[in-house]
């Protein structure tokens, strides 16, 4: 009886895990199956033609990369500052707790609300129209918690003796931070940035009203009224009303490219995460 129960438990849990893994296999293979035929060298190097039915997605990829780079440059210093405040400067545990909760809440805010926020502040008040800079800033705020939390976890996992030794050598606080803590914990920053970028790359809602259009943009020339084309919005528009098979093939191709971008960003974070995992268990 006990054996049977145990076997039933093992069987049930394994089934559910297999189901979860099966879903991801199904999704990825569906995308490869439908999208692979659209992928070619020209798909990456040509611009879109005939409302998405022909040509490639060159400017969409470029636009997405511009947004990601802006988001990264904006969020790195902010996340580092927040992580230092949380794990070094803040002395009151209550306030630390609050900052932590604030980061959690920021992380949970639905992405469309960032879009609405950007629409009010940048489009309406500042009169920028649709601009790549708005998109980059919004995505930067969105990835802030991911980057900050990864760095905080790394700093907290760092052995105390490093800081003790630095103090013993008479290093002052900025020196300890710049030459001990940040170099030791740069892995956390990289991991967080990659995971944050992976999330930001696929976001549609924050940029659809603020930073991106469907057709007719190339490289942005200024800040005001300079939108970019992006991969997620391209898919968003084409997916809604395309029953044209030519368009459909291109949409799946674009989705496959986007998936490839997102997954390579998360997989790039993998070695550092595995190493940290091992250190946490054996270090």
């Amino acid at each position: 009886m006990r054996r049977a129960l145990d076997r039933a438990f093992t069987f049930g849990a394994t089934t559910f895990a297999a189901l979860a893994v099966g879903v991801i296999v199904l999704i990825v293979s569906a995308l490869v199956w439908r999208g692979a035929s659209a992928i070619s060298w020209e798909f990456f190097t040509e611009q879109m033609q005939l409302v998405g039915a022909a040509g490639g997605i060159f400017y969409n990829i470029l636009g997405t990369l511009i947004l990601l780079l802006t988001a990264l440059l904006f969020s790195l210093p902010l996340a580092t500052g927040i992580a230092l405040v949380q794990s070094v400067y803040l002395r009151n545990p209550r306030t630390r707790e609050r900052l932590w909760l604030g980061l959690s809440v920021l992380n949970g805010i639905p992405s469309i609300l960032f879009g609405l926020f950007g629409l009010i502040v940048f489009v309406k008040f500042l009169g920028w129209g649709k601009s790549w800079l708005t998109g980059g800033l919004l995505l930067g705020i969105m990835m802030l918690p991911t980057v900050a939390v990864a760095l905080i976890e790394r700093i907290q996992a760092m052995p105390r003796k490093y800081v003790e030794a630095a103090k013993g050598l008479g290093l002052r606080e900025p020196q300890i931070i710049w030459s001990v803590i940040l170099p030791q914990c740069s892995g956390g920053l990289v991991t967080g940035a990659l995971l944050g970028l992976a999330r930001a790359a696929g976001e549609t809602a924050p940029i659809m009203f603020t930073a991106t259009i469907f057709a007719g943009a190339t490289l942005p020339q200024g800040i005001k009224e300079s939108p970019v084309l992006t991969l997620p919005y391209h898919i968003f528009v084409l997916a809604q009303d395309s029953f044209d098979p030519a368009v459909s093939a291109k949409v799946w191709g674009a989705a496959l490219v986007l998936l490839g971008l997102v997954m390579s960003l998360s997989l790039a974070a993998l070695p550092a995460r595995l190493r940290m995992h091992e250190e946490a268990h054996h270090g």
Binding site: F16, I27, L78, L113, A157, L258, L259, R273
Partner: protein
């Protein structure tokens, strides 16, 4: 996720540029978050003057007639998220039991990471899959109930279930793993089977973390807009005549989020009252999701204190 940290590095801190800019950046992020709430409040003022409390109790949203009631969208949001959670909870927790209690430790991280990759798939891709596959499947499965199309609240719930599954799974796994391995070994040493160990040792200590996992997943389900919009959001729904009837589940509808990502926001842009109503929707969504996320995050922290105290 670990918490605010027992292992804080004590450094004698005098004034420095590093410290000043750290505080400055933190302040900037705080101001951004705070100003978001204030801006939404301010921009939605005309709505509160116009509709007042009726915004929450109104069943009809007809912007041409200047009627703004969110009840039917609230219904859509709640139903869709509940379906998602009811489906994702057993699968996610079951999978977590597998990775935490059955799988050998060295396999745990790779399996977890594969499942976490699911969480990284952009919602627009989920939406695309929803349009081209799920809609069709649901339509066929629901055929006996004669739905108008595959755009049903059930479709959206299913899609969301897949989307929040990794969240449930990975957080539930963390909760189970926070139970010390020594206790498990002791239980197994006493002759308990794996199932008995799980039910008498692991689960009783991990249930708080599980609830936190479900709350955070619920927050994610409530806030997801793009994918939901693809499968239901092209048509408004009505407040159901009978609240408990299942019929509306086989019809299309709106959620708070699908309304916001739709084209209506462009229409609203030039009309102060309509705009205020859209921002009001955003404010509602923020309160709802912010509240649930806050609760989930707090619960998770409480669990950690608990574990530390024990």
């Amino acid at each position: 996720m670990t918490g605010s940290g027992k292992n804080r590095h004590e450094i004698p801190a005098a004034w420095s540029w590093t410290q000043a800019s750290s505080w400055g950046f933190t302040g900037l992020a705080g101001v951004a978050l705070g100003s978001m709430v204030l801006l939404f409040l301010w921009q939605s003022l005309p709505l509160w003057q116009h509709a007042g409390f009726g915004f929450f109790t109104g069943e009809r949203w007809f912007y041409r007639q200047r009627e703004f009631g969110i009840l039917s969208m609230l219904y859509g949001t709640v139903v869709v998220s509940l379906i998602a959670l009811l489906l994702a909870a057993p699968v996610g927790i079951g999978a977590a039991l597998f990775t935490a209690e059955i799988l050998p430790t060295r396999w745990r991280t790779p399996v977890k990471i594969v499942i976490e990759l699911l969480a990284g798939i952009p919602s627009v891709i989920y939406g695309l899959l929803g349009i081209l596959f799920l809609r069709e499947w649901v339509y066929r499965a629901l055929e006996p109930f004669d739905p108008l199309s595959g755009d049903t609240l059930i479709t959206a719930g299913l899609l969301l279930a897949i989307m929040v599954l990794p969240t449930v799974m990975t957080l539930a796994d963390d909760a189970l793993k926070s139970v010390p391995a020594a206790q498990r070994r002791a239980a197994r040493g006493l002759g308990l089977t794996r199932a008995e160990t799980t039910f008498t040792v692991s689960l009783p200590q991990a249930w708080r973390g599980m609830i936190a996992a479900l709350l955070l997943a619920l927050g994610r389900a409530l806030g997801e807009g793009i994918a939901v919009f693809f499968v239901i959001g092209r048509q408004d729904n009505q407040w159901p005549a009978h609240l408990l009837s299942l019929r509306p589940l086989t019809e299309a509808g709106q959620t708070l989020t699908s309304k916001l990502v739709g084209a209506e926001i462009n229409l609203a842009y030039g009309d102060p009252l309509h705009w205020a109503a859209m921002v009001g929707l955003g404010l509602m969504l923020m309160m709802l999701v912010g509240g649930i996320t806050w609760l989930g995050a707090r619960w998770m922290r409480r669990k950690e204190h608990h574990a530390q105290g024990a």
